[in-house]
């Protein structure tokens, strides 16, 4: 609640600045709405890297405004509305919970173009985009399967939404392929960002025997815990090596730079239209942070092969047969999960402990 009001206050102050600075050369104004602080060194930080890439590349044609720490809900609508009504012609709303507010504001401003991240609703002036995060989870799942000695892998989840569940599944499928004895234990912290709770979750999983930790939350707290306990861990959204140089095997890094530059260019030359983009390794929407030098050469080689195979379309993260926890084949032999199936995933594959919270 405090954060909400703070975010609004900073937002309002920033917008006031934005409105005040009348632009001499009529540059196009581009707005960005972030759910977290740009200093999170995770999710929002990467979106802001995309904004900076736009500034760098097209700084002579556009000016950018960003509002950070915008809570998902009614406040988001106010912030987006403010951006739209203060002359921003293209607005990126970068969190799932901004979906409905974005559509509402878009309806009132048909002349403004919107880009909403990770959502599934579009309209004439709202495009959506997301990254196939699960592709990278296939690679790190394979590494985890090879590096574990205890055969217990700890997985810290934020919320049981399809994006996270499909990540757990992609990770587990690749892990079991190289190590059928390994199992994944999931702990949900019901937050995207709570360093204390993420650290507690990491400790709980390690106390239960996990020797590799994977996370789908945004803070580096679990990296520190793994470093302290001398175990392995994967970073999330950004390279988190410096929080645990010994423990950090690699990280899934989101990369929005190319996409943002291309979409702003399209808006500038009039070729922009509403569409859905869901890109992976081959679209440069994600990459892996440098591998830990402690990783054996054959593990790195196998990981690189998996990554290039995914990139070239030779391998799919959900290649049948894929069984759910009860042993029922959900994705048949020779088939791959459809995008629809991945976007709606609410079940665990074989090898994950526990149930998906409903």
């Amino acid at each position: 609640m405090g954060k909400a009001l703070m975010g609004l206050a900073t937002g309002a102050a920033m917008l006031a600045l934005g409105v005040g600075a009348a632009d001499a050369q009529e540059k196009m104004k581009v707005g960005f709405v972030y759910v977290g602080p740009i200093s999170d060194h995770g999710y929002s930080y990467q979106h802001d890297q995309g904004r900076l890439a736009v500034e760098k590349e097209l700084g002579d044609k556009v000016t950018t405004t960003f509002v950070e720490n915008v809570p998902e809900g009614a406040d988001a609508e106010r912030v987006i509305e403010q951006l739209a009504s203060s002359g921003h012609k293209l607005i990126f709303t970068t969190s799932f919970g901004f979906m409905n507010p974005t559509l509402k504001v878009a309806q009132r401003h048909p002349d403004v173009k919107f880009e909403h991240a990770t959502g599934y609703k579009r309209s004439a002036n709202v495009a959506t985009y997301s990254a196939r995060f699960y592709e990278a989870r296939t690679v790190i799942g394979q590494i985890a399967g090879k590096m574990t000695k205890s055969n217990i892998i700890g997985y810290i989840g934020s919320f049981p939404i399809p994006e996270v569940v499909s990540g757990i599944n992609a990770f587990t499928i690749a892990m079991r392929e190289v190590n059928p004895k390994a199992e994944v234990r999931v702990v949900w912290v019901n937050s995207w960002y709570d360093p204390g709770k993420e650290a507690e979750a990491a400790k709980a999983l390690i106390d239960q025997g996990a020797d590799v930790i994977s996370l789908h939350t945004d803070s580096p707290a679990a990296i520190q815990v793994a470093q302290e306990r001398g175990l392995w861990v994967f970073g999330q959204s950004s390279d988190m090596t410096r929080f645990g140089p010994k423990a950090h095997l690699t990280a899934i890094v989101d990369d929005w730079r190319e996409y943002y530059v291309n979409r702003v260019k399209a808006a500038l030359d009039g070729s922009w239209k509403s569409q859905d983009t869901w890109g992976g390794f081959k679209d440069h929407m994600l990459f892996l942070a440098p591998y830990n030098p402690a990783l054996p050469a054959d593990v790195v080689a196998a990981a690189e092969k998996t990554r290039t195979d995914i990139m070239e379309g030779k391998r799919h993260s959900f290649q049948g047969p894929v069984k759910d926890q009860s042993g029922k084949v959900v994705i048949a032999e020779g088939k791959q999960a459809t995008d629809e199936q991945i976007l709606k995933m609410d079940w665990y594959v074989e090898g994950v402990q526990g149930k998906v919270p409903k």
Binding site: P37, S39, D40, Y193, P195, G196, A199, D207, K355, P357
Partner: protein
Amino acid sequence: MSAELALLGPILAAMLAAATPLLFAALGELVVEKSGVLNLGVEGMMLVGAVCGFAVAVQTGSSTAGFVAGAAAGAGMAALFGVLTLLLLANQVATGLALTLFGVGLSALIGQGFVGIPIADVPELYIPGLTDLPVIGKALFGQDALVYLALAAVPAVHWFLYATRKGLILRAVGENHAAAHALGYKVIRIRFLAVLFGGAMSGMAGAYLSLDYTPMWAEGISAGRGWIALALVVFATWKPGRVLLGAWLFGGVTIAQLHVQGLGIDIPSQLLSMLPYLATVIVLVVISRDVARIRLNAPASLGKVFHPDA
């Protein structure tokens, strides 16, 4: 079942650590409320304590200095609250909420240059023999100094409130400020000191988080623990000993629900997380009846503005 039993030690150790920031902040707030002042700014003071503690620890390389700085920063925030509510007679509830909002923003501002800097955490105690004891060894003899400091604060606060003359006067001010004033006690001064103490304790809670619990600065690192501490004071019905039990319960439930999930036990984790709050709500409902209020020893002048001329 032995695997679960083996987990008991780590769970106990983690529970004590999780309870530590709650204990610092709640004990501080208890003294504040006992003097008749309600400061809802705990979360804000905690955050400013966390960021100042971290900043000083990074600059000096000493976590002790950081911890002291955290306490000082918390007290500084509390001083602001004291001036507004005790000297300028502003509404305590509104001012406390504003203090939290201010603290969230200020800590983010101060912390901008400190995000992403890792520091070494406070070393843990190791006593050969004792620390290696099964189950209780790590929990009782393998924590860091701050955990023991928080524990020691419980009897200290109890002793001050119930066994010293100054504590008696502080309680008198909290029960009936007009009567205390008529007897010649300096109500404003006593409350101001209590507020400063509460702020310092909140600052220590924050510094514990950023220096030791998760040794880093991140915006909003306290993640609502300040509000939990406030609930804890009510839950404990203003008794230091019960604050300790409450902190263990709140901390224990947090840790236990994570373990329950990891073990795949089929209890909704949200249900476990909710229980301590449910107890707090029940206490709040019960004390809203006057008779029970007295029995549960809520300070009678809590949150009431004191105007010496009135």
